[in-house]
């Protein structure tokens, strides 16, 4: 009852000895994630918290530990290289938390990734969690609860908001994916929806989008044709002024495209319920599930 990550996930943390890498590696271990290795160039041979071996390269970490997922905390100037390194080593799932990676770097990395088997989530994302089994990322674990609702989102704290609403009302989550707020990201809304559609235990979806781009519209038109379980969406940024980048590099309305109104219309047209406010996302879904 999950996608991409579960209790069999073996995680390597790239940038494990940096301050946020160490902090969140600890957080993931505390949650129960099986962290099998860390990578920091030049620190190979050390042990993280006395129990996780640190390697110089992902290649070595993969060979020695069989890690099948990575969480990247490498600073932005070097993060695209870290993504390519993980893909080269054959790591199946790459979760890049790092914020602020130059778009040109991501564009090149993405082009190479298309020819690899690895799946990238992020960058600039909170990560992915299958409650009760595996947390890869920076989200607070305790707001989640195992269950049957899939959550897909471009934002971090706004996702926590929605998840918390579900948990407080007794509705658990199968898997929650933060796909990231950058203009070029590894896994789109649409791909995430497709993954959830193959999971028999995900009974309904929450789709959280924001202004900019057309990823939400693409997901909507696929859902209309291929997905018949309940979906509730929320789009942030209805009040954002055009032409300004709203924190996330991807959140910008330009040339009249990527507006909240346009996205909401596309979603509704696909038969998706759109929550009016961020405070009513949970209730909107529960309302549908009751009927």
């Amino acid at each position: 009852m999950s996608i991409l990550v579960d209790k069999n996930t073996r995680l390597v943390v790239q940038g494990i000895t940096g301050s946020s890498g160490a902090y969140h590696a600890h957080g993931c271990m505390e949650y129960g994630t099986n962290v099998v290795a860390g990578v920091t160039p030049g620190k190979g041979g050390q042990m993280f918290e006395g129990k996780v071996p640190v390697f110089d390269t992902v290649y070595e970490a993969r060979k020695q530990t069989g890690c099948n997922a990575t969480m990247i905390f490498v600073p932005a100037p070097f993060a695209a290289d870290a993504i390519l390194e993980a893909a080269d080593a054959g790591v199946e799932l790459i979760v890049c938390i790092t914020e602020g990676i130059p778009v040109m770097d991501m564009m090149r990395a993405q082009t190479v990734l298309k020819e690899k088997k690895s799946r990238l989530i992020g960058p600039n994302c909170p990560g992915i969690i299958t409650p009760g089994q595996c947390k890869i990322g920076i989200m607070p674990g305790y707001i989640h609860k195992p269950g049957y609702i899939g959550v897909i989102s471009r934002s971090g704290t706004l996702t926590y908001e929605a998840v918390w609403q579900l948990t407080q009302r007794g509705y658990g989550q199968s898997t929650c994916i933060g796909i990231g707020g950058d203009p070029i990201n590894g896994t789109s809304h649409l791909e995430a929806v497709k993954l959830f559609s193959e999971d028999p235990d995900t009974a309904a979806l929450i789709l959280i989008g924001e202004i900019g781009g057309t990823a939400e519209e693409e997901a909507a038109s696929w859902i209309k044709e291929h997905y018949d379980r309940p979906v509730v969406a929320f789009i942030a940024g209805a009040t954002a002024p055009p032409g300004r980048r709203m924190g996330h590099a991807g959140a910008i309305v330009s040339g009249g495209k990527g507006t909240a109104a346009g996205k909401i219309e596309a979603l509704r047209e696909a038969g998706i319920a759109v929550a009016e406010t961020p405070a009513s996302i949970g209730d909107a879904l529960i309302e549908i599930l009751k009927h």
Binding site: T214, G237, A279
Partner: protein
């Protein structure tokens, strides 16, 4: 980040993108000197501000037009004197206008034909794309609406870059021939080099002109840079003109806060960009108007929270403040302490509604309570929005 026209010209010169000769002047004397060095009897003097509509604008001293043609260095000097230090009002500046601190003195050209040429990062395909049209000098959005068949799109392979054959193909689409075709395709290739080397998210030449002498020149340009990559372009960072920015945003950027000023009267302070946008939305939904977007980030310090708060309070339009924090990495007690420090430092001129949730929420709430400050605590987001809107109306 935006740059001035004269700065765009400097970037074009650096990458051998053909453009009319010219340089910026800060004084009438300098203007005269540049005009003399240009050695031409067709000159143009252009006010340098970050706003469109300069040619049709009016200075607050009554002088009309921020773009003027002239023939002699002495005339260029006179025009510069009338513009420098004066405030220019255009349809994009708002009634307050913008002070002209520099003028561009350039060789003026006689235009035979205008086309449109832009390179931008296409997020849907994840690669750069060239957008070109024979309809130059007008807004491309309008062309796209009325004559979509007149817009050419050419995707560029991210690892190969724009290839010479593509530049020729584009040149032909834009009806260039003979020597002009060669000049145009060279310009396109050099512009692509510039686009990649400087981490642009968009470079738009509008118009790209053919002069009466048959030259192909980039006349006016708009640049968008990828903020994420500015760290590796010190020379672009140097081009920032803080005079052209909202002072509230300049102050916020000093503390690495993500702030965008808006017109409303309810200030908000939020962690995370998505939640910050959603908070603005819910304020509007509850019947209020947000005064700003403010994302203090995932791991804001106490000091950042304090500085953020000071910026909100300094906005005279603000009638109430909403703090909305969902603590993940950010601890609620840290943000609570930051608010308390700020309120103590600047006093609280307007009502403050705080909604805390997430990591260390109990500790954060306790700190706020014990501070005995006039802070309204809200238990969830919907209630917080309702209360802050009510407070702004009575306040």
């Amino acid at each position: 980040m935006n740059i001035h026209e004269y700065q765009a010209k400097q970037l074009f010169e650096r990458f051998n993108v053909a453009t009319p000769k010219g340089a910026p002047a800060e004084t009438p004397e300098e203007a005269e000197k540049i005009a003399t060095s240009l050695n031409t009897s067709e000159l143009v003097v252009k006010a340098q501000i970050h706003a469109g509509g300069r040619g049709k604008g009016t200075f607050t001293n009554g002088f009309k037009g921020g773009v003027k043609l002239c023939q002699t260095p002495a005339q260029a000097r006179d025009l510069a004197e009338k513009m420098l230090g004066q405030t220019l009002v255009t349809h994009q500046t708002g009634p307050a206008g913008k002070v002209v601190r520099k003028v561009l003195i350039a060789a003026s050209v006689d235009i035979e034909r205008e086309v449109y040429f832009a390179i931008l990062m296409d997020r849907a395909s994840g690669m750069p794309v060239v957008v070109a049209s024979t309809e130059g000098g007008v807004e491309i959005e309008k062309v796209a609406e009325e004559h979509p068949e007149k817009i050419v799109r050419e995707p560029v392979h991210p690892l190969l870059g724009l290839q010479p054959f593509q530049a020729l193909k584009l040149g032909r689409e834009l009806n260039f021939e003979g020597d002009q075709l060669k000049a145009a395709s060279k310009l396109f290739l050099n512009l692509y080099k510039l686009f990649v080397s400087l981490d642009c998210s968009m470079v738009e030449i509008n118009p790209l002109v053919v002069t009466d002498k048959g030259e192909v020149l980039a006349l006016d340009a708009k640049f968008n840079f990828d903020d994420n990559a500015l760290y590796r372009h010190e020379e672009i960072l140097q081009m920032r003109d803080v005079h052209e920015e909202d002072p509230r945003e300049v102050e916020a950027s000093k503390f690495n806060l993500n702030y965008i000023g808006l017109e409303g009267n309810i200030a908000c302070l939020v962690n995370g960009a998505g939640l910050a946008m959603a908070t603005m939305d819910i304020i509007k939904y509850a019947g209020g108007r947000p005064a700003n977007f403010l994302d203090v980030g995932g791991g804001a310090s106490e000091q950042q929270a304090t500085e953020a708060f000071k910026i909100l309070v300094s906005d005279k339009n603000v009638k109430a403040i909403l703090v909305n924090i969902f603590g993940g990495i950010m601890r609620c007690d840290v943000i609570a302490q930051g608010i308390i420090n700020a309120v103590k430092a600047v006093s609280l001129p307007v009502p403050l509604v705080v909604r805390l949730e997430g990591t260390n929420v109990a500790l954060g709430k306790k700190l706020l309570e014990e501070s005995k400050l006039p802070i309204e605590a809200a238990s969830d987001l919907a209630e917080a929005a309702k209360r802050v809107v009510a407070a702004a109306k009575t306040g």
